[in-house]
Amino acid sequence: MIRIAESYGKALFDLDISPRIIAECKALLEDNPALAEALSSPAVANREKHRIIDRLFPDEIKNFAKVLCDNGRMGDIRLVEKVYEDCRLEEKNILQAELIYAKKLDPTRVEALKQALKKKYKKAGVKLTVRRDPSLAGGFILRVGDEEYDRSAKGRLTGLYRKLAWR
């Protein structure tokens, strides 16, 4: 699944379409779930799908959307979009990171964190998605690509449990 999405995402990136148009399409599909469903449904004929695309989508992206529909990959559009985002950020040398916090967020510390990451990974900028997860019970988890810094209370407790319950 993810390998296919990668091919399409990269292809979309190579098409060099303006990000504004991509964002427009994304909004179009998100605001109209019926549309997304229709385009990914095998019950709707390809001809029909093409007509819909011609009417609703901006010109530059029409062909791409049609190819996606013809190959039945419209269902993976979110993954495709994600891969496209990844390519775009990589091109701009921006690091993607995810911060999951437990209780509350201190904006100055978050800024300091971003600077530290920028320095460590030698990138021009950091795009930090922030999410709250009360089940962590304290601390935070920071994920950068393959690496994870687990500083949450839940993580520490799990570690302690594993150590005691070992064998």
Partner: protein, 514 residues
């Protein structure tokens, strides 16, 4: 059975909690994108190594078995319950390994080294990777020290040396495991550590085996590694390697180890199951292309090291089950070409009462006399040739009344030899018993004993020799050589015993008039 007191448990826990070090390190993670059939495909883990241990969110571990550009195929070493798409997988940074050490002796463990005998955790300080390169050519020494099995048929004709790999091959229910177990029992009082690896066996069979070993106090020097039939294919796959890793710990410390793989046919089947699920292309009989390498790298690790490297050794007794006696099938031929000889057990012989059902013609030990006790070598003399001649003449037993005297004698002699080579289960014979029996037989002293009384005669004769000729017996055990005078002494002793029987026929075996 457990001798751990509650206070001890609490104090251990308290210690662990107080000394808990918060490891503030970076974890490298991946995400599961597909899981099922004991295999998980993980996205990420870009720096994972082949054969590395990884841990899933549920605590289950896995080994990386295939690396692609963005994904890795991981075989699960536990249940896939709770592992869903999106689960996180953490690298451990180390190759899959098992705990090893003196503490493993006497325990029954699974393929991961975890105890399954209910006697509490095993305290070891060392772990060894399950995959380890075999000792090189320069580190080895040739096999010269005998590994006594206690089984007369084997020790006399197919002697096994320390550091040798001898395959035990035969159909189902022909006594393969029994030979291995008897060899383990015979190591009592010696300095050999035994490891029994059960692959794909029924749990009840393993339990029975452990009982037998406990009964004869063999668990004092044995480790049992069990990956039973209900264990996952990856666990059955790694079990022999784990056992070998434990053996290597002792070998590199200069000890001698005996390791039994029971059996490698099931090991190959488990590997096949795992490979097919990893989408590796099937080859002959659906086995993956590297099934030879699977066994060769395992068995090459059994060797004898030279004095510079400690002089330890691992003797391997792999077991292979054939179907309908077909030794030219794929897996049997592979393993035969890897090992230094085989002991071939036949169903026909087994059912006709010859147990151990060793086919003398097809069995061989490629190390042979170089690793045989001098005394036994001299005593067994031409045993194999005599039996070969007997087998050639055997077809004439139907016409026994019409044969000339020398042929008749040959047949009588052969019958008695075969009868004497039979041995009951769990009764390993000591060196002196073997030597005396062989000397008595090869000097044709048993010809006047009726065939069906041979075993009884042998037992009583050995008892007599121990009682009346104790110093000779001790001399054999101590010096392990057989001089011509000693042979004469034995012959005289046996003749003495036979005379005593003639004088008091009710007391022992009635001898025939010959």
């Amino acid at each position: 059975m457990s001798n751990i007191r509650p206070e001890e448990v609490i104090s251990v826990l308290r210690n662990e909690i107080l000394n808990y070090e918060d490891k503030t390190a970076v974890a490298e993670i991946g995400t599961v994108i597909q899981a099922g059939d004991g295999i998980a495909t993980v996205y990420g883990l870009t720096r994972a190594m082949y054969g590395e241990l990884v841990t899933f969110e549920t605590g289950v571990e896995g080994i990386v078995q295939s690396l692609e550009s963005k994904t890795a195929g991981v075989v699960l070493l536990g249940s896939d319950h709770g592992i869903v798409e999106g689960s996180r997988v953490t690298r451990s940074g180390k190759k899959a390994g098992v705990p090893v050490g003196e503490a493993m002796i006497g325990r029954v463990v699974n393929a991961l080294g975890e105890p399954i005998d209910g006697r509490g955790p095993i305290q070891t300080s060392e772990t060894r990777p399950i995959e380890n390169p075999a000792p090189g050519v320069v580190e080895r020494k040739s096999v010269t020290v005998p590994m006594a099995t206690g089984i007369l048929a084997i020790d006399s004709m197919f002697p096994i040396g320390r550091g040798q790999r001898e395959l035990i091959i035969g159909d189902r229910q022909t006594g393969k495991t029994s030979i291995a177990v008897d060899t383990i029992l015979n190591q009592k009082g010696g300095d050999v550590i035994c490891i029994y690896v059960a692959i794909g066996q029924k749990a009840s069979t393993v339990a029975q085996l452990v009982n037998t070993l406990q009964k004869y106090d063999a668990m004092d020097y044995t480790v049992v590694v069990s990956a039973s039939a209900s264990d996952l294919a990856p666990l059955q796959y790694i079990a022999p390697y784990a056992g070998t890793a434990m053996a290597e710990y002792f070998m590199y410390k200069g000890r001698d180890v005996l390791i039994v793989y029971d059996d490698l046919s099931k090991h190959a089947v488990a590997y096949r199951a795992m490979s097919l699920l990893l989408k590796r292309p099937p080859g002959r009989e659906a086995y993956p292309g590297d099934v030879f390498y699977l066994h060769s790298r395992l068995l090459e690790r059994s060797s004898r090291l030279d004095d510079e490297h400690g002089g330890g050794s691992i003797t391997a007794l792999p077991i292979i089950e054939t179907l309908a006696g077909d030794v030219s099938a794929y897996i049997p031929t592979n393993v035969i070409s890897i090992t230094d000889g085989q002991i071939f057990l036949e169903s026909e012989l087994f059912f006709s009462g010859v147990r151990p059902a060793v086919n003398v013609g097809l069995s061989v030990s490629r190390v042979g006399g170089a690793a045989q006790t001098k005394a036994l070598k001299k005593a067994s003399g031409n045993l194999r040739i005599d039996l070969a001649q007997y087998r050639e003449m055997e077809v004439f037993t139907q016409f026994s009344s019409d044969l000339d005297a020398s042929t008749k004698e040959l047949l009588d002699y052969g019958d008695r030899l075969i009868e004497m080579l039979k041995q009951p289960l769990s009764r390993p014979m000591s060196l002196h018993d073997q030597v005396i029996s062989l000397v008595a037989a090869t000097n044709k002293l048993m010809l006047s004993v009726p065939v069906r009384e041979i075993k009884r005669f042998q037992r009583e004769m050995l008892d007599y020799m121990e009682e009346k000729h104790g110093e000779l017996v001790e001399k054999i055990e101590k010096e392990k050589v057989l001089t011509d005078e000693m042979i004469q002494e034995i012959v005289a002793g046996v003749k003495e015993y036979k005379e005593s029987l003639e004088l008091t026929p009710e007391a022992g075996v009635p001898l025939e008039k010959k």
